[in-house]
């Protein structure tokens, strides 16, 4: 495993931007899907809300969290990335994200395709922190699964 330089995750412009200016931070009232997640090992929290439009696409998202940089930045990126997607597309994106974090070394095209989220691939070099980037996604999946009934 390569040894990541701290700057890779703490001085990355995209991550820093999401950390400082979290997107969709307002709590959504009247959400169609809401989910809360907690990392049992550190106590970090994620709260997600989604409103779907008539076509079943994510129209609005709310994300609030308490936690470390990675956790917060991921939540913010996620809240942007899922807008406009259908629930199956949300799940596919989550699978893609998991693959980027835990699968074999991701190719550049994959990172580019993932947009801002691609910047989180650098967390791979800090293996204990990978779970910080996954919490928002597993919370999202729980919400989608529960929302489906």
């Amino acid at each position: 495993m390569a040894l990541g330089n701290l700057d890779e995750i703490y001085r990355d412009d995209v991550i820093l931007d999401h950390r400082r200016n979290p997107r969709n931070a307002a709590r959504l009232k009247d959400a169609d899907i809401a989910a809360d997640g907690v990392n049992p090992f550190c106590g970090d929290e994620i709260h997600l809300q989604m409103r779907l439009d008539d076509g079943g696409r994510v129209a609005e998202v709310g994300f609030q969290g308490e936690g470390c940089s990675i956790n917060q930045a991921t939540g913010s990126m996620l809240s942007e990335a899922i807008k406009g997607l259908t629930l199956p597309q949300v799940e596919a994106l989550s699978a893609k994200f998991h693959e980027m974090m835990q699968g074999p070394e991701p190719p550049d095209e994959m990172l580019t395709a993932l947009g801002d989220l691609g910047s989180l691939s650098k967390v791979r070099d800090f293996p204990v922190r990978i779970k910080c980037a996954l919490l928002a996604w597993s919370t999202l999946e729980d919400g989608v699964a529960a929302g489906r009934g």
Binding site: V38, P40, F41, C42, P127, V128, R129
Partner: protein
């Protein structure tokens, strides 16, 4: 080619002497010896990366967590589980059985239900169900044994496994007399009446290939120390759907998700069943033991032990007049456990005699008192083999038993 001498070299204790005689270790059903690979795994852990798992951001904790979870994966693969999440670490097989008794059984057994066991059960697969039966107003049914060869009377199984059966809890290989029960068939019958199936593979998994899918069981128990692993680590296999529906057993750190003063929520499998700091080193050591067994090959272990059993049964034939050997004669239907009794000498006195020849056997009831009663004895002497035992060791045993019989029939007994 199975090279038993090469295998023996991996076990430091086997070059030890006892009373100046080479150690002949034939007490493997009680606990097995450890190859240097397992001992080294413990040393490597404590000297190199000892740390608490799961919750640390530092390098040691990360390394410990990876190796610890890797070991869980090895156990899962070894018995054919679908996922490492279905493997719960315990101290030993006894705790695995109690876990099921305190959770699944307390939640699911009701008044009038029946729990079916065999006469061969180790106390650890009997006494926990006695409590469940008493707490719930259920009853225990004991499958019948045939006198001729001390095997289960399969023709009468339908009288015992009935729609009232809620749980079948049966030992795969008997530590008392070595017999291998037809657990696939029993499991099939139990499933047909909707019962849950638990298999005590504590004594079989070390000695032959065991596969939870083939056995079609819901629970299965293992003890690391009986399969080249360290003491203090065992496992419970549970089918995921069942484990997910069960309440936790021990409560505390690690097994929770969120805790308030008045309530708590549970972590995911397998952590939901693992409270407090786990036995990290020994789990990793158990993993190393499985690596060792897989490198030798479980089919090869089994073949070696069948050959040893055949050799031993043949040798004991000479002593037919003085000694009863329990269980079937067919080495395919049993493990390499020779449990025997003689009216000439009490098993203890025999054990002491053998000990002075450097031969370690176990004498007593082997934690199977009800089975001893069925056999009409209080105790037996039991020689139990493993992958490192040799035909020469069996010969040494038989020679020593012969001399003991002479010694004690000369009036000492």
């Amino acid at each position: 080619m199975y090279d038993v001498q090469k295998i023996r070299k991996d076990f430091p204790i086997l070059s030890r002497k006892v009373y100046d005689k080479p150690l002949v270790y034939l007490d493997n059903a009680a606990t097995t010896q450890k190859p240097r690979q397992v001992i080294q795994a413990l040393v490597d852990y404590y000297e190199g990366y000892n740390a608490n798992v799961h919750r640390g951001v530092h390098a040691l904790s990360q390394e410990a967590t990876e190796r610890y979870e890797e070991a869980r994966g090895k156990v899962a693969r070894f018995i054919g589980a679908e996922s490492p999440d279905e493997i719960i670490w315990t101290r030993n097989a006894s705790e695995s059985l109690n876990l099921v008794a305190y959770t699944w059984a307390q939640e699911n057994i009701r008044e009038g239900d029946e729990i079916v066991v065999t006469p061969y059960e180790h106390h650890s697969n009997l006494v926990p169900w006695q409590k469940v039966a008493r707490d719930k107003g259920a009853s225990l049914r004991i499958l019948p044994m045939r006198e001729e060869d001390n095997s289960l009377d399969m023709e009468r199984v339908d009288e015992f496994i009935t729609p009232r059966t809620k749980l079948l809890a049966v030992v795969h290989m008997s530590n008392g007399i070595g017999i291998i029960n037809p657990v696939e068939e029993l499991a099939r019958r139990a499933r047909a009446v909707g019962a849950t199936v638990l298999i005590d593979a504590t004594q079989s998994a070390p000695h032959l290939p065991v596969d939870v899918q083939g056995l079609d069981c819901d629970f299965l128990t293992l003890s690391g120390h009986k399969m080249l692993g360290p003491t203090g680590i065992g496992a419970l296999y549970g089918r995921r759907e069942i484990l997910e529906r069960m309440e936790p057993f021990l409560r505390g750190g690690e097994m929770v998700l969120e805790v308030w003063y008045d309530r708590a929520t549970w972590n995911d499998l397998p952590m939901k069943f693992e409270a407090g700091t786990p036995n990290i080193a020994d789990a990793i050591g158990f993993g190393a033991a499985i690596d060792y067994l897989e490198a030798v090959g479980m089919e090869n272990v089994r073949d070696h032990e069948i050959a040893l059993t055949a050799h031993a049964l043949e040798a004991f034939k000479e002593l037919e007049e003085e000694i009863d050997v329990f269980g079937p004669r067919d080495p395919e239907r049993r493990g390499a456990i020779i449990s025997f009794h003689s009216d000439i000498v009490h098993p203890h006195d025999l054990g002491t005699f053998l000990d002075r020849d450097g031969i370690a056997v176990r004498t007593g009831h082997h934690c199977t008192m009800p089975l001893m009663r069925e056999l009409g004895v209080i105790a037996t002497a039991r020689a139990s083999c493993y992958l490192y035992n040799t035909e020469e060791e069996i010969d040494a045993l038989v020679d020593s038993v012969k001399r003991a019989l002479r010694y004690f029939s000369d009036g000492a007994g």
